[in-house]
Symmetry: C2
Subunit: 433 residues, 2 copies
C-alpha cells in the first residue's frame, strides 16, 4: 500500500467508513502511519479523529497544522468536539476553540466544565424542543422551516415549559402518524426520564439499557433542558465501562489501548504486579512457618500449590460473578445473604468432589493414605472460604466506595493462598507428624 | 411488603418500569416471589416477562395459566415474543403460538427457524417500507393513514425496489424537515448497511457500535427485506456478549445468572475447576522432579510459589488485553507481531524490576545471595514467557476457531506455572547444589 501512490491510496480509503479508517491507522506500524498521513493530506477529517484511540489522536493532532485541525473539527456535533478536545494540551485546546463558531465554542466550553465521564460530557447541545401547547402541524411546519438548524440525528421532539423545563417527549414516528391538529401533549411517550448534567456515564448507560431508551434530555441544576443524550453515545459508554471492568479484573489499567507504547504498558501493568508480589510474599511467609514440616515430608511441597491454585480459581469465579452483579445492580442488600449462602454451598459441593478426587490422587501418588486425607480436608476448607471471600470482599469494597473490579482480585487470592497453605500444611503438621 | 395486602402491592408496583419489576422478582426470595405472584394476579404482563432472566422466566411461565400467558405475550413485538418462546418446552411453545394472531405466529415461527444468537432472532418483522419513487408527502400521508399498523418504535423508513430488496433508508428527522415534494431517494442516509438473517449477534452488535447505526434492515438469502434490527436490541446483544466474555475469562459458564440454584451454579463452575486441577497436577509433577533439591534447601519451597504467581498474573494481564483486542477486532494479522513484541518487552522490563526487588528480598530473607540470583533469573524468564504465552495463545486459539475467552486462561497459567517452577527449581539445582 505504501508505494507513495497518493491516488491509489485515495481510491482505497475513500469508500471506507471513518471508523474503519481509524482502526486501520491504529493497527499499522508507526512509521507506515506517518507515511500514510503525509501522503494522504486533507483526507483526515473530524469523523476519523473522533474514532481514534485517545493516545494516538493526541499524537496525530500534534502533527496537524492548526488550520487543518480547526477545519476538521468544525463540522462535528458538539459532543464529538468535546470528546476530541478534552484530552488535549491547553495550547491545542485554545487553538481549536478559537476556530469554532461562537455558539459552538460556548457549548464546548460549558461541556468541558462538567466532570469527566458525566452526562454533561456525553450530551449534545443540539436539541429539538417545542412549547407544550403546540400541535403536530405546528411541529412539522417548524421543522420544515428550519432544515439547516436541526441536528444530524434526532429521534424525539422534547416539549418544554416556558422556563425550559422538559415535560415529556414525542417520538418522530408518532408525530408522523398523527393528524396535524393533534396536540403534541396528547401523544407523549409513556416513559420519560431525564438525567442531570453531573450524572455518571455508567449510570446513564445502565438506564438506557435497562429502560430501552433511545434518547433522553439532560437538565441542569435548575431542571432546565441543556442537551440530549442519544443511545449511540450510551452504547459507547456501556462498551467503555465493560472494557474497563474486564481490564481492571485482570489487573490492567482501564485506559489501556493496543497502540500504547512499551513504556506506557509497563507502567499500567506494574502496580498490580507489585500488589501481587506483596500478597505472594505474605503467602510465602505462611509456608515458611512450616519449613520443618516440609523438611520432614517433601511431598507436601509438591502438593501444596494444588490446594492454593484450586482456591484461587474458585475465588475468582465467585468474585467475577459478584463484581458483575454489583455492576448490573443485580446484587443488592436484599439478596446479598442469599448469594453468599449459595456461593458457600457451591464451594462446599465442589470442594467435596475435588477432595475425593485429590485425596485419592494424593494417596496413590505418594502411597500415604493420611496425606490424601490432609489434602482432601484442605481442599474443602479452601473452596468454602473461596466462595465466601469471593462474594463478601467485593460487596464490602463496594460499601467502602472502592471499585470492586479493581481491588477484589488481590484480596481474594491473598485469602485463598494464605488459607490454602495454612490449612494444608497446618493439618499435615497435626496429622502426619 | 408481604403482608397479604394486594392493594398496597398494586399501588407499589404499578408506577415501576417493567424492567425494575423484573429485577425485583429476580432479587427476592423464591418463597416471597411465589407469594407475590399469587397475590398480584394479572399484573404480570408480557413486558415484565421479557425482562426476566431465562431460568426464572421458565419457572414463572410454568406456573401461569395458559390463557394468562397468551394474553401477556400477545401485545409484544415479534422479536420479544421470540425471546420468550425460544427457551420454553415444546408444549408451552405450542400453547403460546396457538394464541397469537396468524401473521404474528408465522413471523415467530420463521424467526425460530433461524439459528440462536443470529440476526434473524434479533430482528422484528414490523418494518416501515416504501417504494423507491415516493415523495416525502406520499410517505407522510401513508403513515397518517395507517396509525395502528406502524411499529411502536421506528426511526427510519426503508426504501425497497419492486422485488423487496432494500435500497437505502431515510431518517424520520430528515423526512420531517423536508418539503412534501422532495423525493425520498434524494434524502437517503449516506451510510447504509444490511445484515443477513444468519449473521451472528456479536457481529451485528459490533457493527452497530462501530458505525453508530440506529436501525438496520435484515435481508434473507435472496437479498429481500425480512425485518429490522434496532439499536436497543444491538445494545442488549453487546451487553450479553460482554458479560459472556467476562464470565468465560473467569471460568464461569457464560449463561450464569444470580437467580440460578446451587445445583446449576455448581455445574457451571465445575468444568473449569476440573481443568485447573489437571493443570495444577501437571505443575506439581514438575515440582516432584526436584524433590531432592527441595529436601536439600527448604527455602526453595517457600519461595517457589512467588515466581509462579507473578508469572500467572502477568500472563493474565497479557491474555485479557489480547482476548479483548480480538473481540473488538483491534488485534489482526497486521499488528499481531508488533503486539507480541510489545508484550514480551513489557514482560522483560517488569521482570527485571521485580527480579531486582525479589532478588534482594530472597537474599535478605535467607541470607544466601545465590538464592537471590536464582529467584531473580527465574522471575525474568517467567515474566517474558508470560507476555509471549498471554498473547500468542489466544491468537492461536482464535485461528483454530476456539473461543479464546473460554480456553486461554487454562493454557496460559499452565505455561506460567510449569515454566516458573521449572526455571526456579532447575536454576537452583544448577547453581546452588
Amino acid at each position: 500500500v505504501e508505494g507513495e501512490d497518493a491516488e491509489a491510496l485515495d481510491a482505497l480509503l475513500d469508500p471506507l467508513h471513518p471508523a474503519d479508517i481509524a482502526d486501520l491507522l491504529e493497527q499499522i506500524d508507526p512509521r507506515d502511519r506517518k507515511a500514510l498521513l503525509t501522503l494522504w493530506k486533507g483526507g483526515l477529517d473530524g469523523d476519523i479523529l473522533s474514532e481514534l484511540d485517545d493516545n494516538l489522536r493526541e499524537q496525530i493532532i500534534a502533527d496537524l497544522a492548526p488550520a487543518d485541525l480547526v477545519a476538521a473539527v468544525r463540522e462535528l456535533e458538539t459532543d464529538d468536539v468535546v470528546d476530541i478536545v478534552e484530552d488535549l494540551e491547553p495550547v491545542q485546546q485554545r487553538a481549536i476553540l478559537a476556530g469554532l463558531s461562537p455558539a459552538d465554542r460556548v457549548a464546548v466550553e460549558k461541556a468541558l466544565a462538567y466532570p469527566e465521564y458525566s452526562a454533561g460530557r456525553m450530551m449534545q447541545t443540539e436539541v429539538v424542543r417545542m412549547p407544550e401547547d403546540w400541535t403536530v402541524g405546528q411541529a412539522i411546519d417548524f421543522m420544515r422551516a428550519s432544515p439547516g438548524q436541526l441536528p444530524d440525528q434526532f429521534y424525539h421532539v422534547i416539549l418544554v415549559d416556558p422556563r425550559m423545563r422538559p415535560k415529556g417527549y414525542v417520538q418522530l414516528g408518532r408525530l408522523l402518524s398523527s393528524k396535524r391538529e393533534v396536540r403534541l401533549a396528547d401523544i407523549l411517550e409513556d416513559s420519560f426520564r431525564t438525567f442531570g448534567v453531573e450524572d455518571e456515564q455508567g449510570a446513564v448507560a445502565y438506564a438506557f439499557n435497562q429502560y430501552h431508551l433511545i434518547s433522553a434530555p439532560v437538565v441542569d441544576a435548575d431542571e432546565r433542558l441543556v442537551g440530549v443524550i442519544t443511545i449511540d453515545d450510551a452504547m459507547e459508554a456501556l462498551d467503555e465501562e465493560h472494557e474497563e471492568d474486564i481490564l481492571r479484573l485482570a489487573g490492567v489499567g482501564g485506559e489501556s489501548e493496543l497502540s500504547d507504547s512499551v513504556r506506557e504498558t509497563t507502567r499500567q501493568r506494574f502496580p498490580w504486579l507489585a500488589v501481587n508480589l506483596v500478597t505472594a510474599i505474605l503467602a510465602s511467609g505462611v509456608i515458611s512457618l512450616f519449613e520443618d514440616v516440609i523438611a520432614g515430608l517433601v511431598a507436601l511441597a509438591v502438593l501444596m500449590p494444588i490446594v492454593a491454585s484450586m482456591g484461587g480459581n474458585a475465588g475468582t469465579q465467585s468474585l467475577t460473578v459478584a463484581v458483575r452483579a454489583i455492576a448490573t445492580r443485580d446484587l443488592t442488600g436484599s439478596n446479598v445473604w442469599r448469594v453468599i449462602r449459595r456461593e458457600v454451598a457451591v464451594g462446599l459441593v465442589n470442594g467435596l468432589i475435588f477432595a475425593l478426587v485429590m485425596g485419592a490422587i494424593g494417596w496413590a501418588w505418594f502411597g500415604a493414605p493420611m496425606l490424601g486425607v490432609v489434602i482432601a480436608a484442605a481442599m474443602v476448607i479452601n473452596l468454602v472460604v473461596a466462595g465466601l471471600a469471593g462474594t463478601a470482599i467485593p460487596v464490602i469494597l463496594e460499601k467502602l466506595k472502592v471499585d470492586p473490579a479493581l481491588a477484589s482480585g488481590a484480596f481474594v487470592t491473598t485469602v485463598t493462598d494464605v488459607v490454602g497453605f495454612f490449612a494444608f500444611l497446618g493439618l499435615a503438621a497435626l496429622i502426619l507428624l
